[in-house]
Every structure is written in structure tokens, then in C-alpha cells.
């Protein structure tokens, strides 16, 4: 789909009709793209945490009595961390386009000239 036309849309001296567009910023391509909307994550390891806290409640917060639950909690936390890392690496090599952070870096290095030098 071609870009919609800009002919006679802006308030200019040569334009006889009412303006269609009244942009508050200049219509120039910026050297950055907008961020991707991040997905709503949910809390991980909540069950292990609650089991561990129940154990603490029973044993007056002594760590030696709750070794097993604490170890389970740590294992769950490390597994969740790995999964998150794998997911983020996977996501970045995505559908055709670069992720926004890398795109912004690229545009910083090769910016769009908005001036005639």
C-alpha cells in the first residue's frame, strides 16, 4: 500500500483550503523505532515459595529444618531463569525484523540526515 498523499493537507500559505492535518512535530523520520509491547508475564515458583514459607512458619524460621524446601525453591528459581534466557534468545531471532533495541543501535550508527550539509 503506497503512503497516503500529503498534497494540500498541511496549513501553508499556498494552500487555499482548510488544513486536514495539524502535526505538532515536524514530519521527519526519527532515528529510532518504538519499543515492542512486552507481554504480560506471570510470577514463577509461587507454589515452592508458599511451601517453603509454610515450613518456616512451623519451624520458627530456622533454615536447617527446611533444607529440602529451600533447595526445591532454588532449583525452581534457576529453572525459571534458564527458561527466561532461552525464551529471550529465541525471541530475538524473530520473524524477519530485528528487535527494536538492535534497530535503534543500527540507526544511531547510520542516521537519517534531516539537514542538507
Amino acid at each position: 500500500m503506497a503512503t497516503p498523499s500529503l498534497r494540500g493537507r498541511l496549513p501553508r500559505l499556498g494552500n487555499p483550503r482548510k488544513p486536514i492535518l495539524k502535526p505538532n512535530k515536524p514530519l521527519i523520520l526519527a532515528n529510532r523505532v518504538g519499543e515492542r509491547r512486552r507481554e504480560r508475564g506471570e510470577a514463577t515458583c509461587v507454589t515452592e515459595m508458599s511451601v517453603m514459607m509454610a515450613c518456616w512458619k512451623q519451624n520458627e524460621f530456622r533454615d536447617e529444618a527446611c533444607r529440602k524446601e529451600i533447595q526445591d525453591f532454588f532449583d525452581c528459581a534457576s529453572r525459571a531463569e534458564e527458561a527466561r534466557k532461552v525464551r529471550s534468545i529465541q525471541d530475538m531471532g524473530e520473524s524477519g525484523n530485528l528487535p527494536p533495541k538492535k534497530l535503534n543501535k543500527l540507526l544511531q550508527r547510520f542516521p537519517n540526515k534531516s539537514h542538507v550539509s
Binding site: 504480560r40 508475564g41 506471570e42 510470577a43 514463577t44 515458583c45 509461587v46 515459595m49 508458599s50 517453603m52 514459607m53 518456616w56 512458619k57 524460621f61 530456622r62 533454615d63 536447617e64 529451600i70 525453591f73 532454588f74 525452581c76 528459581a77 525459571a80 531463569e81 527466561r84
Partner: protein, 274 residues
């Protein structure tokens, strides 16, 4: 990013006490004021093999505190066991890595890291955290005095105890140090999360390095602040380490307070999104 850059004016101030000064020890100081700036500026543009020379030249801003090593430099391998493994036991990747290290450029090892048997990364980290104003000599001496004090106290207890108790008394200061810090590590942490205009303390699992850091930080803060004015650091630190070793004392209490708060706020765990 901008805090790493200095204007030329403050570069001038840096160069007064920075490296170019060594070159001008014998000469009259005021007369050579202009020269250090020039020398420093020229020093940054020296093209040497592997050194960072391609630097974006922004007028009025010069880089300070960046590593002089380019990205092709690899970290040194301090561990002797890595090289002692017989050739037959190495996997393909390890053989490839060892061959690669013969050709790659490697950074110089920092002065505090040795490959001696007495090298302990936990002790080094703790010493660095105790250090103030770059005075590593003082921090290291305090650390050795602390370990000595711990050992002395344990030996006194040992000689005063009966035969059955002597078996239970731990005399190695390093094991006491490690066990004490392990006992001070929190299992779960609290993170302030903004929700509906208010900050809630949400219980969150902490990574290993954060837990170790918190244990050391609490220990050092406790010893610095809550003591008698004339008490020296090794004395106080040895006392706190021994108490933490037996799961008593203020640092372990602080850890348990953190756990109690996390337990009280366990309903807020769903505010986390990771």
C-alpha cells in the same frame, strides 16, 4: 553514559594527578602545566596493536575510565587445574579452546588474583568490599588480622574444653568464614514494585551472586556501625563471624527479619511478572 565522559577542563584537572605527572617529577611544576594536557590527549590517539584507537571524537568530551583492551582480548585463565588436565581427558571443545588460547590476545591478570593454593575468591571479594578509598593494603591486613583473631579464639576454646567437646570445635578460620557467610545469606529477597501508585515490597527469588553480596554487605555494615567507638574492625568482625557460624548474632537476625517480612507479604507475590 555521560558520567564516563569529562570535559576538557576536568581532563586538565585529571591530568594533574594522573599518569603524565610521573614524567614531570624533576621539572618545575607550574611551567609544565600545559604540557600534561597535550601529552594526555596525544597519548589517547597512539595507534598500538589491539589498543582502542578508533574513538568517536566528540568536541569537548574525552573518554575516561574505559578499558584500554579492545573486544578481541580474552580474560586470563588463573586456575591451574585447567592446564593440568591430561590431554586424553579433554573433550573436543576443551581441546579447541586450549588451542585457541595460544593464539588469542589475553589481558593481563589483575594484581590481586594469583594462582596460589591460598587464593580464595570469597576472601578476595570480602576484602575488596571492606576496602575504602583504594587502600587494599589496609583491607588485606584487616582481613588477615580477622582470620588470625578467629583462629586464636577457637584455639583458646579448644584448649579450655574437654576431650568430647574438642572434636566439635572448628579451628580452621576459612571454614568458619565460609560457613558464617553461608548462614547469613538470605533465601528470598524483597523488591519494591509500583502498583496503583504505591510501592509494595514483593518477595522475589534472588540469584546466587546477589545473596552472597547481601551477606557480605550486611556483615560489613554491622561491624562498621554497631560497635563501641574504640573497638577495632578485626576484633568486631571475628566476633560477628563466630556468632554467625553458630547461627546467632545480629546478621543472622537481619536475614531472619527479611524472611519474616517476605512471609508476611507472600500474598503480593503475584505482583511479580518474572
Amino acid at each position: 553514559m555521560t558520567h564516563r565522559f569529562r570535559t576538557l577542563r576536568s581532563l586538565f584537572l585529571i591530568s594533574r594527578s594522573g599518569t603524565p605527572r610521573a614524567a614531570f617529577l624533576g621539572s618545575s611544576w607550574p611551567a609544565k602545566m600545559a604540557a600534561p594536557v597535550g601529552k594526555a590527549a596525544r597519548g589517547w590517539s597512539v595507534l598500538a596493536l589491539g589498543l582502542r584507537s578508533v574513538v568517536p571524537r566528540l568536541p569537548g568530551l574525552t573518554q575516561v575510565r574505559w578499558s584500554r583492551y579492545g573486544p578481541e582480548y580474552k580474560d586470563p585463565q588463573i586456575d591451574k587445574e585447567y592446564y593440568r588436565k591430561p590431554l586424553a581427558e579433554l573433550t573436543e571443545e576443551e581441546k579447541y579452546e586450549q588451542e585457541l588460547r595460544k593464539i588469542q590476545l589475553i589481558k593481563a591478570a589483575p594484581a590481586a588474583k594469583t594462582s596460589s593454593v591460598f587464593e580464595d575468591p570469597v576472601i578476595s571479594k570480602f576484602t575488596n568490599m571492606m576496602m575504602k578509598g583504594g587502600n587494599k593494603v589496609l583491607a588485606r591486613s584487616l582481613m588477615t588480622q580477622t582470620l588470625e583473631a578467629v583462629k586464636r579464639k577457637q584455639f583458646e576454646k579448644y584448649h579450655a574444653a574437654s576431650a568430647q567437646e574438642q572434636a566439635t570445635i572448628e579451628r580452621n578460620p576459612y571454614t568458619i568464614f565460609h560457613q558464617a557467610l553461608k548462614n547469613c545469606e538470605p533465601v528470598i529477597g524483597l523488591v519494591p514494585i509500583l502498583r496503583g501508585g504505591h510501592f509494595y515490597q514483593v518477595p522475589v527469588p534472588l540469584p546466587d551472586r546477589r545473596r552472597r553480596f547481601l551477606a557480605m554487605k550486611w556483615m560489613i555494615t554491622e561491624c562498621r556501625e554497631k560497635k563501641h567507638r574504640r573497638m577495632l574492625m578485626p576484633e568486631k568482625l571475628s566476633h560477628e563471624l563466630l556468632e554467625a557460624f553458630h547461627n546467632q548474632g545480629p546478621v543472622v537476625k537481619k536475614k531472619q527479619d527479611m524472611h519474616k517480612m517476605a512471609e508476611a507479604n507472600r500474598a503480593l507475590a503475584h505482583y511479580r511478572w518474572w
